[in-house]
Symmetry: C2
Subunit: 229 residues, 2 copies
Amino acid sequence: MTNDERVAHLRVLRALPPAAWPTRDRILYEAARLIAAKGYHGASTRDITEAVGIRQPSMFNHFASKQAILAELLALDLSIPAARADELSRAEGRPVARLHQYMLWDFEWYGEMPLDLRGMQEELLVEPGLETFRADLEAWKKAINRIVRQGVAAGEFEKDAVGLVTTVLTGISWEIVRTAQFTRDPRTAAKQRKGAALFVLRALVTDPSDIAAVAVAADDTTRRTTTAH
Amino acid sequence: MTNDERVAHLRVLRALPPAAWPTRDRILYEAARLIAAKGYHGASTRDITEAVGIRQPSMFNHFASKQAILAELLALDLSIPAARADELSRAEGRPVARLHQYMLWDFEWYGEMPLDLRGMQEELLVEPGLETFRADLEAWKKAINRIVRQGVAAGEFEKDAVGLVTTVLTGISWEIVRTAQFTRDPRTAAKQRKGAALFVLRALVTDPSDIAAVAVAADDTTRRTTTAH
DNA sequence: CCTACCGATCGGTAGG
DNA sequence: CCTACCGATCGGTAGG
């Protein structure tokens, strides 16, 4: 399955309640939920299949192993954001605008994700067979730091903030996933995402007037895109 | 063991290499390390005791259960910071200065911690018997948010940043624990802690000149304290 | 702090 | 997607 296929499939799923999903997707849903709650080793294959409503060995008709479930969830959590960040790190335009654009995309990605990805912790990547996701995580950090360093070089960002951006972004995405479990109102969620992006920019920019300029430009882009469809 | 005793004991341990620690503390050290790497359920009692150099059942002479080890680590991770945050949330002085003071304390606490607390995830607190630590975590968040709301009321902080502070602080403390495993130079570490505290303040304050004022005041306090001893 | 050992649970397979 | 079952490993106990 390619990343584009994954994104398209998620769009289909989001329109349905999890109970109406195909079995394979319901396994992913319950596995994500239970791994978030009890950790990868704490969530047993029997826990997962019991939540789905099938017997434990039936799971292996959909996934070759428990780790194959984890790999599918890690692709959503790491591979797709890494590709998007890399793309924007090589795009044209002001670094401050591209970082803002990435953050809005990232927070929407995690905020509208129908699976609970909170169990996808960096520490899981030490397990043999998951090296490719370690590479995705490193690529993501490199791409974000590339944009931030471009901003420092352009005089847009403070120098000493560089090393903290990926950490803070990870923490905020996490919080957005968490609150997305309760707040289902899309307008409140969009406002929260905008506020979070501005929070990070305030910590970064040398010239506060850049923040308003970038935010207005982003709103224009959104309005244009929305009207066009 | 009270929190004060825990803090005093940690000071003693920090002066020695872990190999020279008492067995009970070496169990905590290896357990913390392995739980950080493989998760609580992924780190078996046999993994831990093998790293310590004793047989698995010998562990139960020092701890009544595997969960008792976890509880000891959670006290260091949650109970002590919660007490410190609560204290500062009720102290006198400008909110911006008290938040800055808390952050410097917090980052030093995690940065100089001789045990690797990265495995202490909020999700562990769902296990029965750990309710007290759930309460500590809630108390910590409440205390931090109390200081931030005091700052908003005083016109020092932006309104819309309130809900993000605890998330960002948790993320940064995590990063500080992580980098503390490599960088052992105390001067670099202190500089990193100061930079991290300023990063958060920049995202929060309405008047940028407050940041410089608070930072200078904090340096004065440190200098006075250092000279006095 | 050790050896010997317990019942429970783990991820996964065989065969329909 | 099921029943039946596998060897390995789990946290913890008995008894010295």
